[in-house]
């Protein structure tokens, strides 16, 4: 199928890859159907709405720059009895002053078995909602 997008023009996508967010995502509650698009940006993808060509969030997986996020997530989601292996985790990311900020406070969890997604709030995160990706990478390199 062809999808019209504001950022990338007409894009070919596989209908089977549609991810359904029953509750939408924060800020875009009306958008329920998305696909993940890749344009060769290493570590980064786009969460593109099927129904609104303007809505496409820059997303990344958190573990490559913040390995400790796995534990944070595990401890947090234990209450939902979620099996982490069944889910893909992405977080929304934005650029400001040539820095990359990742929103670790509210990851997108995508159930790989039924392609249903939700944006969940990570409670008792004793830090800011966002982290500077480059700073985090540097700190983790120094630790090793």
């Amino acid at each position: 199928m062809i999808l019209k997008t504001s950022k990338f023009g007409d894009v070919e996508f596989d209908e089977k890859k549609i991810i359904y967010f029953p509750l939408g995502i924060y800020g875009f509650e009306e958008e329920k159907k998305f696909v993940i698009l890749n344009f060769g940006h290493e570590n980064f993808s786009w969460l593109q709405s099927i129904t609104n060509s303007d809505v496409s969030l820059l997303i990344t997986q958190p573990f490559w720059f913040m390995p400790e996020y796995e534990t944070i997530l595990k401890n947090n989601l234990i209450q939902f009895k979620i099996n982490p292996e069944r889910y893909s985790v992405f977080i929304s990311t934005y650029l400001k002053d040539r820095k990359i900020f990742a929103s670790i406070g509210a990851p997108f969890l995508i159930d790989n078995e039924n392609s249903i997604g939700m944006q969940v709030v990570v409670n008792d995160l004793n830090q800011n909602l966002t982290v500077n990706v480059l700073e985090k990478l540097k700190t983790n390199i120094l630790k090793v």
């Binding site: 924060y26 934005y94 929103s103 406070g105 409670n123």
Partner: protein, 77 residues
């Protein structure tokens, strides 16, 4: 909107299994205690507003600027 008056120590029940207690009151602050099943999501409204803003910024990302910044990231791998 339903408006109720409660005193310190008094409680409210929502949906049979969410218990709200007025723990303490101040001039412009109220301390609430919430007993609810772990699957009930409770967040401050400001947090939702912040998360909405972040998603909107994220959707405004210019892919060309990302190309540039990614070159800098390569030095750390």
């Amino acid at each position: 909107m339903l408006v109720l008056t409660r005193k310190r120590g008094e409680k409210l029940i929502i949906l049979d299994n969410i218990e709200l207690t007025i723990i303490d009151l101040d001039k412009n602050k109220v301390k609430l205690g919430i007993n609810a099943p772990k699957t009930i999501k409770i967040v401050r409204k400001e947090l939702i507003e912040d998360l909405s803003k972040i998603n909107k910024y994220s959707s405004q990302t210019n892919p060309l600027i990302l190309n540039d910044i990614q070159k800098e990231l390569k030095y750390f791998k």
